[in-house]
Symmetry: C2
Subunit: 199 residues, 2 copies
């Protein structure tokens, strides 16, 4: 099996997205507050190092449908191609979890969005595609919870953001039997980065 | 004003105590999992350093009633004197928040439990008692939330424990406008300690 990792930014009260996600607010109201550490220019050197880690080369990605886009239910005539413009930052196959069939979408720079109907199918396809490079479970909360349930995660990197969102999407709801050990930590004023080894 | 600090151990899903607190389970079911880092013997050197910080000399403490003991409602004939035996680890005045009057209790080693009926009254009395030494808001979650609302906290130390409790008492519920900056961080396998300056 390839090494499976996930990297999520989370508020002090446990949210990885704000409420009311929409096309205008892809990570929900105030969700952007969780991502200033890697959107700032210039970045703090610690944040720069963890941004590089987040963007590090992967063999494949697994992503929830809500992270791919705002379309819900049937795809219909939607020509949605992701939030990231013509050349997404993935440069590898991305397996999007959806019960609604969709043809693969080939983007510039090596990113190909593939649509699969279960986490297990995504993991199998990602494993085949990744070779000996890592697989990244890119989010959102539900995809990471499915990775916990599948018992496939080797590493979780959390960026703990010193904000309280109050509502939104909690990451650890219904996760049980977590066996995690912090092995590395560093902080900037905007985020405390913790690397967990998952056993 | 004296420097006001608080030091809390919190699960990855945001709980500082488990559910069903009782005399047998003072910090709720599985709540003990949040405190292994400072109960272990021997302790990891990082955990030892933060234990010393937790036990550091204070001029006064503020504590919620549920942290003082399991008695609810009227005190009646209760002779409860805290969880900590004849010589509690505080060695200073402790102001316990309760709407039910109770005479002060003098313990060995300089700890005196005083009972006051509001956070503001506790803060005023603690300020008077502390002189130029720090005041510690010892917990639980409700007392710390009241400290946030009063705007009196200068520092919050969180021990992030790599466990998921699933239910219990959440610390940040209804806290808004948190303006916190991480200024120091260190980790052991059992806990990641983050020192926040509160602005």
């Amino acid at each position: 099996m390839p090494f499976v990792t996930s990297h999520m930014s989370i508020s002090l009260d446990g949210f990885v997205a704000g409420p009311d996600q929409s096309e205008d607010n892809p990570i929900g109201v105030d969700g952007i507050k969780l991502h200033r550490w890697h959107l700032n220019d210039p970045k703090h050197p610690i944040d720069e190092a963890f941004t590089q880690r987040l963007l590090g080369p992967r063999g494949a990605y697994i992503m929830g449908r809500n992270m791919f886009g705002p379309v819900r239910g049937e795809w219909g005539n939607s020509d949605w191609r992701g939030w990231w413009g013509p050349e997404p930052p993935y440069h590898a196959p991305v397996f999007v979890l959806t019960h609604h069939p969709h043809d693969a979408i080939e983007m510039e720079g090596g990113t190909v969005f593939n649509f699969v109907d279960s986490f297990d199918a995504a993991l199998a396809a990602a494993t085949k595609a990744a070779g000996d490079r890592p697989i990244d479970v890119a989010g959102g909360a539900s995809a990471v919870r499915q990775a916990f349930r599948a018992g496939c995660l080797n590493e979780l990197v959390l960026d703990i953001i010193p904000v309280v969102l109050g509502s939104g999407e909690r990451m650890f709801d219904s996760v049980s039997d977590l066996n995690a050990e912090p092995v590395e930590v560093a902080t900037s004023p905007l985020a405390t980065h913790i690397v967990y080894r998952i056993n």
